[in-house]
């Protein structure tokens, strides 16, 4: 096979899959057939481009082929039987005769992502559908992202697509009344994909770059299609400002480097710059939603005048606003850390202990790790050691575990090894 063609097809698959599938889905009215049409278009490209060369606009070429294939299937389907379950909510003009020159297909990815992230679908199904249908990940790749087996993931995807058809989950961008709430579920899916890539829940590497990059692609797509939504600008800013630190988060040996100790010359300048611009834009309109506030916190870290010493008072006040719009135990935990940095380790420890009873935090290693840090700063070394041990038991990421073990082993030898002090 011609390596140039193979690379062009792989590149188009990465950048154009969602758009091609979305265009086909508008015609076929069901996602399975649309997937088939998109797959066949890519298969045809491999053969055809070898003979004719890679077209100037591979995406338009592939969309044309996928749409043609979709129309063939519709005609055959109409002949065979009346109708199949269709995606609800397509406009009257969405049939095979819908206008649309081959140069200017409407971008239907927004419809597709709102369908994939519909609140009537289980949260894990939303993420799986988005990675499969928008990003073009194979079922095996989606299964790998969630650490489940391929048959389990295949069954989950099939069940979700059946629900879309049976319950008539529409192929439509929600109206202005519904949009803020529905957009929030979409943004949560993209953020979850990014978070999973930024710090892999388990395994030998800290990051899963493939997932982080897919999340960045999705956030950029939403920004392109919803340019006036502050929540979208906020999510893209948050992802950029967090992702910009990716090279500085581990040292040459793959060991974790804390934010305060990171080499800022290794931060991605252009991502920081782009992220800061977007934060400013996302904070132009009140009330602030979740992602603009989280991005503002990331921006405060990124713009610290002295490396490692950001304006913790400002970060704490941003967390106070964040917890008002998003009262989650995880936010409370991060806020408690901000209390400690702004007001001293004793205040931080008190804030952490105040939320320690939250069931959602029971198995969460960051709580134990944060307690350990403040106990250490208060010279309560034996308690710190126990807290590091607890965090080590709860973390499944090897890079994080090495870091925690190293911090624990830096503590001075126990002064009462047989009977550790406990409050």
């Amino acid at each position: 096979m011609d390596p140039v063609v193979a690379a062009a097809v792989a590149d188009a698959h990465r950048t154009e899959w969602g758009r091609i599938l979305a265009a086909a889905a508008r015609l076929t009215g069901d996602l399975d057939t649309a997937e088939e049409c998109a797959q066949e278009a890519f298969a045809e490209a491999l053969g055809s481009w070898t003979g004719t060369g890679v077209p100037d606009r591979p995406g338009a070429w592939l969309t044309t082929v996928a749409r043609r294939r979709a129309m063939d299937i519709i005609r055959r389907r109409d002949l065979l039987r009346g109708k199949l379950p269709l995606l609800a909510g397509r406009d009257a003009g969405d049939g095979p005769d819908a206008a649309g020159t081959e140069e200017t297909f409407p971008d239907d990815r927004l419809r597709l992502i709102f369908t994939c992230c519909h609140p009537a679908l289980a949260p894990e199904a939303r993420v799986a559908l988005t990675l499969r249908l928008l990003c073009g990940l194979s079922t095996a790749e989606v299964a790998n992202a969630f650490l489940t087996s391929e048959p389990t993931m295949a069954a989950r995807l099939t069940r979700a697509k059946k629900k879309i058809a049976a319950a008539r989950i529409p192929y439509r961008v929600p109206g202005p009344n519904e949009l803020p709430h529905r957009l929030a579920t979409v943004l949560d899916v993209v953020h979850l994909v990014f978070a999973t890539g930024h710090t892999a829940p388990s395994g030998g590497t800290l990051q899963r770059r493939d997932l982080a990059e897919r999340a960045l692609d999705l956030a950029r797509m939403l920004r392109l299609l919803l340019p006036d939504e502050p929540a979208v600008a906020g999510l893209l800013a948050l992802i950029l400002l967090t992702d910009a630190r990716r090279h500085a988060r581990t040292d040459a040996n793959g060991q974790l480097v804390r934010l305060a100790e990171q080499d800022r010359s290794r931060w991605d300048e252009s991502e920081i710059h782009e992220g800061l611009e977007l934060v400013r834009e996302s904070l132009l309109r009140r009330p602030y939603s979740r992602y603009p506030l989280m991005a503002a916190i990331a921006a405060t870290h990124a713009t610290a005048l002295t490396p490692g010493t950001p304006d913790w008072a400002q970060i704490l006040s941003l967390y106070d606003e964040l917890i008002a719009v998003w009262p989650s135990p995880i936010v409370a935990l991060n806020r408690a850390v901000a209390v400690g940095e702004a007001n001293g380790p004793a205040a931080g420890l008190a804030a952490l202990d105040a939320i320690a009873g939250e069931p959602e935090l029971a198995g969460y290693h960051y709580l134990a790790a944060a307690r350990a840090e403040y106990l250490r700063r208060l010279d309560r070394h034996d308690e710190a050691r126990l807290a590091y041990d607890e965090a080590l038991l709860l973390s499944a990421n090897d890079t994080e575990r090495h870091f925690l073990a190293a911090r624990r082993d830096e503590l001075p030898p126990s002064d009462a090894p047989e009977r550790p002090r406990r409050p």
Partner: protein, 115 residues
């Protein structure tokens, strides 16, 4: 268009404990709901308490096992239903969200088309 079943789930003990005023307000809210969404409603009624329920399960040998009571093992049981017609799930959800259900919630289930 499609038909959806909107189940009203209730904590029966809370229903029994409730004062007549709450009951009257809930019934009035239902009358209000019915008149507001008359064009979408295809049916609906309050159900007998779950003590009147009988469940049927098919057994592996091809027979049926009949048992007293509802399927649910949680505190909530189905206390009523509406049958509605809507273009898609978003329209159905917006109607279902209006169903008064102070003792639990509602469950929306697409009705399998008969044709």
């Amino acid at each position: 268009m499609a038909e959806y079943m909107v189940f009203i789930w209730s904590d029966e003990q809370a229903v029994e404990r409730s004062d007549p005023g709450t009951m009257d307000r809930t019934m009035a809210a239902h009358r209000e709901f019915v008149s507001r969404h008359a064009s979408a409603l295809r049916g609906g009624n309050r159900l007998h308490p779950s003590g009147a329920s009988t469940s049927i399960r098919h057994t592996p040998d091809g027979g049926v096992a009949i048992s007293d009571g509802a399927f649910s093992e949680t505190k909530e049981v189905i206390g009523g239903f509406y049958l509605i017609e809507a273009a898609d799930i978003d329209e159905a959800l917006s109607i279902a969200a209006d169903v008064p259900a102070p003792f639990g919630g509602v469950e929306l289930r697409p009705v399998l088309p008969t044709s």
